[in-house]
Symmetry: C2
Amino acid sequence: MPTKCINCPLRKRDVFVEMSECELAFMQEFKAGELKVEPGTTLMLEGSSSPQLYTVLDGMGLRYKMLENGERQVISFVMPGDFIGLQAGVMREMKHSVEASTDMVLCVFDRRTLWGLFRDHPERAFDLTWLAAVEEHFLGESLVVIGHMNGLARIARAFVRLHDRGESLGLAQNGVMKLPYKQQDLADALGLSLVHTNKSLKKLRERGIAEWRNGTLKILSYGKLCEMGLLDEKREMMKRPLI
Amino acid sequence: MPTKCINCPLRKRDVFVEMSECELAFMQEFKAGELKVEPGTTLMLEGSSSPQLYTVLDGMGLRYKMLENGERQVISFVMPGDFIGLQAGVMREMKHSVEASTDMVLCVFDRRTLWGLFRDHPERAFDLTWLAAVEEHFLGESLVVIGHMNGLARIARAFVRLHDRGESLGLAQNGVMKLPYKQQDLADALGLSLVHTNKSLKKLRERGIAEWRNGTLKILSYGKLCEMGLLDEKREMMKRPLI
DNA sequence: CGACAAATTGATGGCTGTCAAGACGTGTGG
DNA sequence: CCACACGTCTTGACAGCCATCAATTTGTCG
């Protein structure tokens, strides 16, 4: 089964490897089994110290932090190949929660084997650090988006990033991919209200740029979308007639 | 010299160690020397792959990303003990720049020795990963702040975090610490305009909560400051009479 | 059909960006 | 010593993006 395993800590950096190879190596020492979960399942809870770590084999999810007042900040979207629980592995506890948005299949391994991995397999430990650095990079990108772009641009940028990521995972074809999230999820990720997110999505539809309905994202004009996902296009963008 | 070295990859997790011990261990294999730089010096450039990595021994700086239109997103504030260049060490290139805001003293070591560290000193490699996880955590916090708090609350939260961090480093006394940044730096970190940042700072002064002038931050009411740095205090907060 | 979650739409208010001008401090040169 | 340039900080006016409230529609499920 030629599934790709992009971010699995056993894969080689910057290249794709076959899942079978990845799993084979894992099985040797670390893999404790596979886990299937339903939508809504909480995989990691902020403040807890899960005894198990996961690599996503299939399905999508969300990383998020809950705030005192009930609001929520979505940190990132979880896709196949993502590693879940690094914080629990090296720190005392998780600093955010992880939840399944669809049915998910997870590669499970034991947190206690992590130290053995560092001791006996430095190249894999290196990959883990690489993973963490990549996460840091993407969070920095998100800061830029939320800190400097208006609502429409944030959504456009998010769509481009999600689509590109999906495409590299083989989850997108001809600009169409499954995006099994709610508008509220996207709003919480971009620091926007649900209402404003909804209205911005409408604009993207009306302008024939992108559609996102029933869990499916369709990129109608990749060029325009990228254009809108840039900074300071505000004025030009907003003055453009709506179709 | 009993300086603290909090985040140095050689320190023990969750505890403080004497700088001397830290440096001693470093000298054995990895430390290549010390570096002194002036304010404004670019330590790392986004897109480059620096051959040298640093641990900050003294001084403060900024991590930031430059945007196409000339705007800037400050990712975080650099303080003594911080590690600089992890991305360059494990990825192809840096994803953000790092600049000195004051005179800085840096512990330098060679990027090429990083792999040897993973191979021969797994406990230190583990610490490096820990560092990366901590960074991820703080970036997530920043996302929450920028995504869900108004201007005044963002500044209040930033002051609390900066002060607490400074205090744990022995850089703050009685709520007073050096904060050698410009208002523009803070604005770029919080996703606010310079003008709005300035006006919010004025409010904090008028209410007798915090002052930040001439590079010195004075916390006048830690309690109130924390209160303001919370979510959804908006309405209560804004309705309070100004003095 | 009724209950519920999710998506949609309109009206209103305010936080915040932008523009513009001035004040303040510092260093340089005449 | 003063004039000037320069960066930083400060303040006011104005516009607009966006949050909030409220109500309706759509889709799903039993």
